[in-house]
Symmetry: C2
Subunit: 462 residues, 2 copies
């Protein structure tokens, strides 16, 4: 198969309009659409209006739909006909707060180019990446007067505050949002010059463990040795969570773990990843984790059980001889398909009940959960993304995972039943939630081309 | 051997003077000699002067000796001659703060009798008990014009704030304080009607463990599974401190533990102790500790290793997905003879070095320590105390231990080389450091007799 290419007419459009297109992005980035801060509510609304006008002007009629929180922008172009596939493009137009402002080299809401990077709050997360898709639509509609597929653009203004109203919106508009594929550009490439498809996200099951011993704190001299110490009991319980090989030892924990297939494992092995450099970046004397697995497997393909917090007794300066009445741990498990938070909660609770010593009462509270997600490395949408990225970047993309969670991905897959393709154009060190956020200019140029070519290849796959 | 008896002339003195003696105690208790509060410094000095005048009036010339803190009262009567034994009576005339004042049924510094108890701050800890000895001296000197032994009274005003200047005072005046026995009444009887000699005090070695992993907190999704979690590492380290039988599993921990002898163990078995009532008082669902030992053995005869505090990562409401950079535990060991804080520190540090996982750095800091102490249940002073208590209370005393520490006891034994007899007249629930502190009137009456008879029997033992 010959190397795929960006269609010449689209490529020429991006060449010819580069300066104008970038000016539009700057306008978008200048709106301080900080969803977390009440004083920016009007700015968030202004960004939604700006985006809807832009989409409509491009030729994809858009409306701004209110929610109980910030509005959703919904745009549709359905003239490809009932037999053509429908692609849903998701992004978010809200941004993280810019504080601390004094750590920005140039003002957060004044887009500035330096060293091949465009600096601004939202440059990569996610206004800049959402804008790549808008410009891809503009290229098709300007050059050819039509899109190769039916397109829905769904942009929310609450991603940085938990997407509180999105799942309900999707559920209520499931018919209207029905699509053959969802494409999201809100992630990072593995490294510069290496286009990436993010195909695995871990889920989460977050618990609080409360261990109660005596009814009140006791003097450790007067009572120590005859009363079960809740802090020690907690430590002994936590120590049963892993075996000597770093595997989670909660019975049944791995029962529903789907091992990665050959292609998925191969995609990991092909990545240029330096474990020693990773260790040095973390600053720990050595790395750890499940024996017999690489660092990337441990981070992307394997579930975990971590302690996120500990509290008991006296924690101030010096010595206080207290036998604490209680001890608390925050414990969370990162999950992989097909683990579920509910099942892991049941297994954790059963394990704790089995290992907790007499003399204490242990309560397990489930605080927060999210489903893991993994895409098939196959299918028309995946193939189209893979070929479009190769066309735009001149090399085949790698497939990557991410240790954290993006709950909205699972929502789309669950509520719409459509495959989700995560095709991101950020880079490591992009400061997505920190001062001096940036996106590489090269990735802006190539990203627009990849997004435009993606639509073309989705249409051809039919 | 016939049951020992309080000498008739001394007994008659206490009967005849009961009201007058009690009035003197009330005067002593009215002085708010709170050593912890700067605003009471003059009251502390006034109490020292009051006590010195009282001792001198009784016939034991006393002086008030300044220290860098509160003064020491030193009184001496040495007319029993060079061949007679010398008894050093130690007590303290300072008291705990009385706050919260609103929880006192009657004012803290207005001694009040109710239900056979005398309520006041210092009634039992330790003005009241010190006063028993002063009145014992008065009985001898009034009735007979002499004491049966040479006597030194040493009363400090800093016991409730750590006896900061006492050890140095004892060391500097070792020649003058040389004695054949030290007697201290600053403890409690096992139960009402059961006179008690406290013969075992545990020591202490208190540590802080700091576990450092990565240089800063990490996102538990992005890094979890490949980086050693310091909180989990700490839990795994703490879990190695005991075996399944509740024994401390730090290698060599029991190497220097002197097992109690037959008589000591028998003294424990004879005590009317209800383990279920103890458990109910603690409020825990079950008791714990070293297998094959009774609760009283665990509390008095056996060393422990306890967690006094835990802190790591996120401890607030809800969920935060942090992989903590560090974790801290306060850990303390209660020691029994012949364990020492320095040796236990070395063994703990070596054990931690052996079990700590790679990927974290563990620091052990020794915060505080104190030597354990145990008296021989034999010798002239012990025999005299045992018989004097039987004479005063009508039944042989029991021998008890105490899980906590009284550092001054070890100081006397170490610096003066004299056996220490702890003959206390408090009772469980006496509120020594709480509102409504009290001493039983019955124990005041019998305690004076016991103290006077003790001096008599020490003299006879020669």
């Amino acid at each position: 198969m010959p190397r795929p290419a960006v269609p010449r007419d689209l490529d020429a459009f991006f060449d010819a309009n580069a300066r104008r297109l970038r000016a539009g992005l700057d306008d978008f980035l200048r709106i301080p659409s900080v969803s977390a801060k009440a004083e920016h509510a009007a700015d968030v609304a202004r960004a939604a209006e700006w985006l809807a006008r832009e989409l409509t002007a491009v030729g994809v009629p858009a409306e701004v739909i209110g929610t109980a929180g910030h509005p959703i922008v919904l745009a549709e172009w359905r003239d490809a006909g009932p037999d053509a596939p429908t692609v849903l493009i998701y992004g978010h137009y809200d941004v993280q707060p810019a504080e601390p402002l004094e750590l920005w080299t140039s003002p957060a809401f004044e887009p500035t180019e330096r060293d091949g990077k465009l600096f601004a709050r939202g440059a990569v997360d996610d206004k800049g990446q959402l804008w790549l898709h808008v410009k891809a639509l503009e290229a098709h509609l300007t050059v050819r007067g039509r899109l190769p597929v039916n397109v829905i653009v769904l942009a929310e203004g609450e991603e940085e505050v938990g997407s509180e109203h999105l799942a309900q919106f999707i559920a209520e508009h499931a018919e209207r949002l029905r699509a053959d594929a969802v494409v999201i550009s809100d992630s990072a490439m593995f490294a510069p010059g290496i286009p990436s498809i993010l195909f695995a996200l871990r889920g989460l099951a977050y618990f609080q463990l409360d261990v109660q011993g005596p009814v009140s704190d006791l003097h450790s001299g007067m009572y120590g040795g005859a009363v079960v110490n809740p802090a020690m009991a907690l430590a002994r319980i936590l120590a049963t969570f892993h075996d000597a090989d770093g595997r989670v030892a909660i019975p049944g924990f791995y029962a529903d773990v789907r091992e990665w297939g050959t292609r998925e494992r191969d995609s990991l092995r092909g990545l240029p990843f330096d474990e020693e450099r990773f260790r040095a970046g973390v600053g720990a004397p050595a790395l750890g984790g499940e024996a017999g697995r690489t660092v990337l497997e441990r981070l992307w393909a394997r579930p975990t059980c971590e302690v996120n917090g500990l509290l008991s007794g006296y924690t101030g300066e010096g010595a206080k001889t207290v036998l604490p009445a209680k001890a608390m741990a925050k414990v969370s498990c990162r999950l992989v398909p097909d683990q579920t938070p509910a099942d892991i909660e049941a297994k954790l609770a059963a394990h704790i009940a089995a290992v907790a010593p007499p003399g204490v009462t242990v309560t397990v509270t489930h605080l927060h959960g999210g489903m893991p997600w993994k895409a098939e490395l196959a299918g028309p949408a995946f193939d189209a993304a893979e070929r479009a990225l190769e066309a735009a970047f001149g090399r085949a993309p790698v497939c990557t995972g991410e240790g954290g969670s993006i709950p909205v991905v699972g929502d789309f897959q669950r509520l719409l039943g459509a495959p989700v393709v995560l095709m991101g154009f950020g880079l490591p060190g992009e400061n997505a939630h920190a001062p001096d956020e940036w996106i590489a200019i090269e990735n802006v140029e190539k990203g627009m081309r990849a997004c435009a070519t993606f639509l073309e290849f989705v249409a051809q796959a039919r």
